[in-house]
Point group: C2
Chain length 430, copies 2
């Protein structure tokens, strides 16, 4: 077993010499028992997933929590792997709950502080995603309900600059779209982002809490945006989600692990520290449900260019049919309106990206009846080439703009996945 | 088929003569096709529940929504019956998501306005719980995901007064508990309450939206409190829920349909309009997770009097073991602390009530790191006899008070269920 420094020391005094000392694994375990329990965890989880496990105590005889124990086997313990070429939470099936948490880095943050932050969070995320509490976690029972938890780390424009590397050209707030935007600074650009997704809101809340706490004074919470999707997938099979307009949303997606991989994941064209990474454009889009109520179904379908029931394009019968943008009716009019969302959003070639939208429905401000919308999360290799042209077309003309208003906008680089023994941002902070 | 007035007429002009005209069924269908579809719905839903259903269109050929169609069979269509002696949403298994929505009645509200409100909402709730959109619902696909939806209607002290009947003595804000309360008016007493629960937050959002919209100018939204529970029941089997302290919550419950029925449901001692009803005490309890972090597991278990892992009392081994409040250790000290929550909360005889707690985890105020707590929902026949004595003991002494602060409080009468052909509040508004 390899000796690693206690994590409290990592947080308080930094780990600058860690890589230099040849410590390739940053599990930062403080005791041997901890490591042993950690090793046992996968089996526990696997057993739990089959429903065969009995309850195991998460505390030692003296009541001290034993980190790394799966205390509560049963449903909800499905989990996703943390380590790999890419981070989880981008191209996998979206879990029903999300918290996007943006942080500000305090003045004076340097590369060393960033390394401490990434070291702590890498350890936290790996533990949480595998069903173990974080090292200082006194509620391991909450951590044990993994619920397919993914925590995905993004960085804003300040981080590469602080790390002393060149900032990607696209890693900047989007240009203004004055014809549609009513942006509120409270949902603006952040320095660091955690995207926390799971099948259980309790799991999301617990992970969020532990990650915020672990970071100590290294970050300040800037905003938190909570969202949800329908927890019942396959309704009917293949409908990705319905937003609060009742529309099927996020239908046509690039094949992120196949022929379209280069649209989603940075390759050799990118600097070393971004290879295997991606980008996230997060737009908070208010949806005026009261105005939407005044549109009948025909108008709604015309605005979208798709049927409300099946999600099929107006020129087709199946959700996955390709919209026929050239089709005309007997009078020679396009069957899909000139300003229909599906036409204006339609991108070919590089103008495509992966979407993972979530609804939000927050308590209305005093006197209002509704405060709802969409957290539109789009992932691609280069937002300037892929996302912005589409957004520009939509800003220029899109019937849906009658009911939707972007009120928040931020862009993050999604770091590559952490390989064995690596921290997130390993090559950025090397 | 019985003729019923179109619902728009109900909303706009009232239904004062409806009962007098012998209209016992208030399904308020506007077309015969609607009724036929409504009749088909149960079978559709049943078919959907077995997973055997194919997708059925929710729109007619011209794109008009056909209310009453189950448009999207598949998972998520389990449903609970609306009509019966009691309202749903009290003693049934809690669904993972809740919105408690309190409303204010405008000045000048009279019995007739109340009857219109109850007529509209009764129809809405029955439709929504059975997977049909409300009559003006243009998103029937969202309504089709019933997700065990329950909508439970409560009334505050103003309603019986407006209806010209005597107000129950217990139907009033709780007395002040100055040693613990830090009540914020924004979570205070309302005139009417809808408790909306489902397995899907999209279903909750849609139902909330439709119910608020249907009520038109008859009500104003006062506050909305959203909450959640772990969606994976039986972790391990029998653990009701864990709150964000990691505690097992809501363990010992009265047998609401058996020997303890009189503790939960109003009987012959109550006025006619309340028989079969109950009461809800809703306390919003902030939980100081940052302070809780500074308590170790032994201190936490001592404060609660239960083990954190299994939820068993400190004097037992199983969740359902009865706490032995007299047990002493070798030194003669009580094994369950004098101020432990489980001891102080322990009620016998009539001092018992049904709890259905939900966690909340809202975005923190600017600069804060956490804004979490519990929506403590307690149901009983008479809060003055059953709830207040327990609350008084807890206010006087309870170790958990170190970490918890009541910041909202309201009391509602839960109306009896609607029988066939009845509206909610039928006997109140007769």
């Amino acid at each position: 077993m390899r000796e690693t420094p206690p994590r409290r020391a990592v947080i308080l005094s930094g780990l600058g010499g860690m890589a230099a000392a040849g410590l390739t694994s940053v599990t930062a375990c403080s005791t041997q028992a901890d490591v042993a329990d950690g090793a046992a965890t996968s089996a526990d989880v696997a057993q739990a997933r089959t429903g065969a496990g009995g309850a195991a105590s998460g505390t030692s005889a003296d009541g001290t929590p034993v980190a790394g124990k799966v205390c509560v086997p049963g449903p909800g313990t499905a989990y996703r792997p943390f380590r790999g070429e890419h981070q989880a939470g981008v191209d996998d099936e979206p879990q029903p709950y999300v918290a996007f948490v943006a942080f500000t880095l305090p003045d004076g943050t340097d590369k060393e502080a960033l390394r401490r932050l990434m070291t702590v969070w890498t350890d936290d995320i790996e533990r949480l995603m595998s069903g173990r509490g974080t090292l200082t976690d006194q509620e391991p029972e909450l951590a044990a309900v993994t619920a397919r938890l993914t925590v995905t780390l993004g960085i804003g424009p300040r981080v590469p600059a602080l790390a002393g590397v060149q900032v990607q050209a696209w890693l900047a707030p989007l240009p203004a779209f004055p014809s549609i935007d009513r942006l509120d600074d409270r949902w603006g650009q952040g320095d660091v982002l955690l995207q926390i997704c799971a099948d259980s809101p309790t799991t999301v809340a617990h992970a969020q809490r532990r990650l915020i706490t672990s970071a100590g004074e290294l970050v300040t919470v800037q905003w938190i945006q909570r969202g949800f999707r329908e927890p019942f997938s396959g309704i009917p099979s293949g409908v990705p989600m319905r937003n609060l307009f009742g529309q099927v949303d996020g239908t046509v997606q690039p094949d992120a692990r196949g022929v379209d991989a280069s649209l989603i994941w940075a390759g050799n064209e990118a600097p070393d520290w971004m290879r295997g990474g991606s980008s996230l454009v997060l737009r908070r889009i208010a949806m005026d449900l009261e105005k939407w109520d005044r549109a009948d179904r025909l108008s709604r379908e015309n605005a979208i260019g798709r049927r409300l029931d099946s999600g099929a394009p107006l020129t087709g019968t199946d959700l996955n049919d390709t919209p026929d943008l050239d089709a005309v009716d007997a009078l020679g009019f396009h069957r899909i309106d000139e300003a229909a969302h599906v036409r204006r959003a339609h991108g070919s070639g590089v103008e495509r990206f992966l979407r993972r939208p979530y609804s939000y429905d927050d308590p209305p401000e005093s006197g209002a009846r509704v405060n709802s919308g969409l957290l539109f999360a789009a992932y691609c290799t280069d937002p300037v080439r892929q996302f912005i042209p589409v957004q520009r077309r939509l800003a220029e003309k899109d019937l849906l703009n009658l009911w939707t208003t972007p009120i928040g906008s931020a862009v993050f680089a999604i770091l590559p996945g952490a390989g064995d023994g690596e921290i997130l941002g390993q090559r950025l902070l090397a």
